[in-house]
Chain length 218, copies 2
């Protein structure tokens, strides 16, 4: 329709008329971001070819062409998140001295909680991991496990855990607790009677984890 044909109803305000960019990499980027956003907002339930295409403002066909379908898109997003731990959990010491291995794990718990609480996408993916076991998701989980191990390795310095402590198991427990608390907080705002809404609530929770970490490694 040319501009001449009398102002139709929608002419007054056509705010959504993003004309097609006709730029492959940019469109790929839009799809990619749409996927991330959708996942972050609505979780894997809201994640589908149609939804992504709608959000990206392009035809779903392009998802197949550029990513080889949803699986490919998930892969791309997952790959992008491979270094998540390394990128989102800082390795400085926040002005504190880490005197013991327990201090170290206490710090990790705190940082991991912060990072997770700040990243909806990652949270959704964590829940996704609990819901089904597709290869993509498994890969992401593995990458994260490695990231955490690397973090510990790099931060450890000369700190050593007490003899007889099963560090792998203890660390897994600490991380598990943090993770479950953060995930539960989002939907129910509390866990097992412990409120998890305000900043104070979180300070309390983290302090409990810290106490356990320190005590276990004492």
């Amino acid at each position: 329709m040319t501009a001449m044909t009398a102002e139709t109803v929608e002419t007054p305000a056509a705010p959504e008329k993003e004309l097609p960019v006709r730029d492959r990499v940019q469109t790929q980027g839009r799809i990619f971001q749409a996927g991330r956003a959708l996942l972050a907002e609505g979780g894997f339930q809201a994640f589908g070819v149609n939804a992504v295409a709608r959000k990206a403002g392009c035809d779903k066909q392009l998802i197949y062409r550029y990513f080889g379908g949803l699986d490919g898109l998930v892969d791309a997003i997952g790959e992008d998140l491979a270094g998540w731990v390394t990128q989102h959990v800082p390795e400085d010491q926040g002005g504190r001295f880490l005197l013991t291995y327990g201090d170290l794990m206490e710090r990790l718990a705190e940082l991991y909680a912060d990072a997770l609480r700040a990243d909806p996408l990652m949270r959704r993916i964590l829940v996704w991991e609990l819901s089904e076991n597709s290869p993509h998701i498994a890969r992401m989980a593995e990458a994260r496990a490695k990231g955490i191990a690397q973090w510990i390795e790099r931060m450890r310095g000369s700190l050593t855990p007490p003899k007889g402590a099963d560090t792998v198991a203890l660390n897994a427990v600490i991380i598990a607790a943090v993770q479950q608390l953060v995930l539960a907080a989002e939907t129910s705002g509390s866990f097992a009677g412990l409120p998890l809404k305000s900043q104070k609530d979180w300070a309390r929770a983290v302090s409990a984890v810290a106490r356990m970490a320190r005590a276990a490694y004492a």
Copy 2:
């Protein structure tokens, strides 16, 4: 068709011809069980009116009639699970003496892990809780939290936690860790580098939780 009308083709072997029971409560039961089974097997994703009806071997209309739709069915299942903790986490002491509050929580962690590992339905519902926040689900979570609190209360006897210990927070952390480990085990078979498949793996994990519980309450 009367018995006289010559044996029709299907008489020799009619394996799938469950004739309709025409018994309301029984049909209700079938629907209910189908819902539970479906939820346990495939999680909330596989849960829908059509699927339940298929599994129950009746028309989906009956789900609406007898339960008022899926929501009603979920409610029914949830109500049935209200006393889950009380029913599935035993209160005897397994031949052990619980000398300290830490022992108590250690024991709870162990029992809770066992109970959860033995109950696919409950696991699915826990994951569901992390995925969305419908009122039904919230109610279930609340009931569970109460159940745990009651368990502790009943088992506590004269045991008292050390002064200055934030029992609510510490207990929540312990339960959270157990829960996350059990849920993660199902799909990925490990968590943060800790394998969670064999009975031995679990002994290791539980022992780590136990150590932390004891230490934190020392």
